[in-house]
Symmetry: C2
Subunit: 171 residues, 2 copies
């Protein structure tokens, strides 16, 4: 797909069809995330790919808004190193956002929808995913073909207007 | 450009040619950022586009690592609302990372390089950009055509290996 089409076709998908994601497509999505930029190239992420249904159903319990994880074709669990310094925490979060976004765009390019979830229950997450105490589950990115309609470039989205968001030279 | 090529062509660019960025290309890059997803669709960003040379030179003073801003064809100043709750701060940073990444990909698709800078001197940033006290300058995204060589899909990057980053079902 053309890049501009993929960017405009990406939307938040939380209802997925039963169609599985081909292994090579999942690989491309993860490879896109692996290539993401980060502060001083620290690459503060590990990706745990979950595709077993039983585990997805349990993983949906880590946050009240994560119900869609249970029905995803696969979910990428974005695990990050713990940090206490607020500046460091902020940089890591920014970099996780970068990695997440490029994976969502790579997915959209393949017609695959994506939908984020936050995480509240770190103990449940750790018991399911087995990451070390030095890390936490930062976000989940659910993937799957949309249940409703294919991804196509959206003419308009529910966003603030261009004129409201963009300033020239000064606010 | 094909999406996968644009994703692989994006690299950190900090030395820019004198070639200006066409207005419609800058518009596309900003439009990509405007469409980015965010927690509860809060869209916690304003983009101040700086292209006047004198202002770019001054803006480069907001951080010791921001020297490349002075020589950029244009820089997008990503301004965000202040927040004190650590969870809220983290969500905003994540969303800014998403907006920044999609703008970098949209730029790469047009052959335009991008390079981040952090911000230390908020007072200088505010005096130059005029954003209100309720906001801060979170990041800068410098844009321009690369001085060294055009953007082409990179075969390999300085990153952790796929096998190191990606885990299956469990860490």
């Amino acid at each position: 797909m053309d890049t501009w089409d993929a960017i405009r076709a990406r939307r938040n998908v939380r209802a997925f069809s039963d169609r599985p994601i081909a292994g090579e497509d999942l690989h491309l999505i993860l490879e896109a995330g692996r290539r993401a930029p980060s502060a001083r190239n620290t690459q503060p992420w590990d990706f745990v790919v979950v595709a077993e249904r039983a585990r997805l159903v349990q993983l949906a319990g880590v946050w009240q808004g994560a119900g869609h994880i249970a029905h995803s074709a696969a979910t990428i669990a974005i695990v990050a190193p713990n940090a206490t310094d607020p500046r460091q925490v902020g940089l890591i979060q920014f970099d996780l956002g970068q990695a997440s976004m490029v994976m969502a765009i790579a997915a959209a390019d393949l017609g695959i929808g994506s939908g984020h979830a936050a995480v509240a229950d770190q103990d449940l997450a750790r018991s399911l995913l087995g990451f070390p105490d030095t890390h936490h589950l930062a976000f989940l990115l659910a993937l799957g073909y949309p249940a409703d309609r294919p991804l196509v470039p959206l003419k308009r989205m529910d966003r603030r207007s261009f004129e409201d968001v963009v300033h020239r030279e000064r606010w």
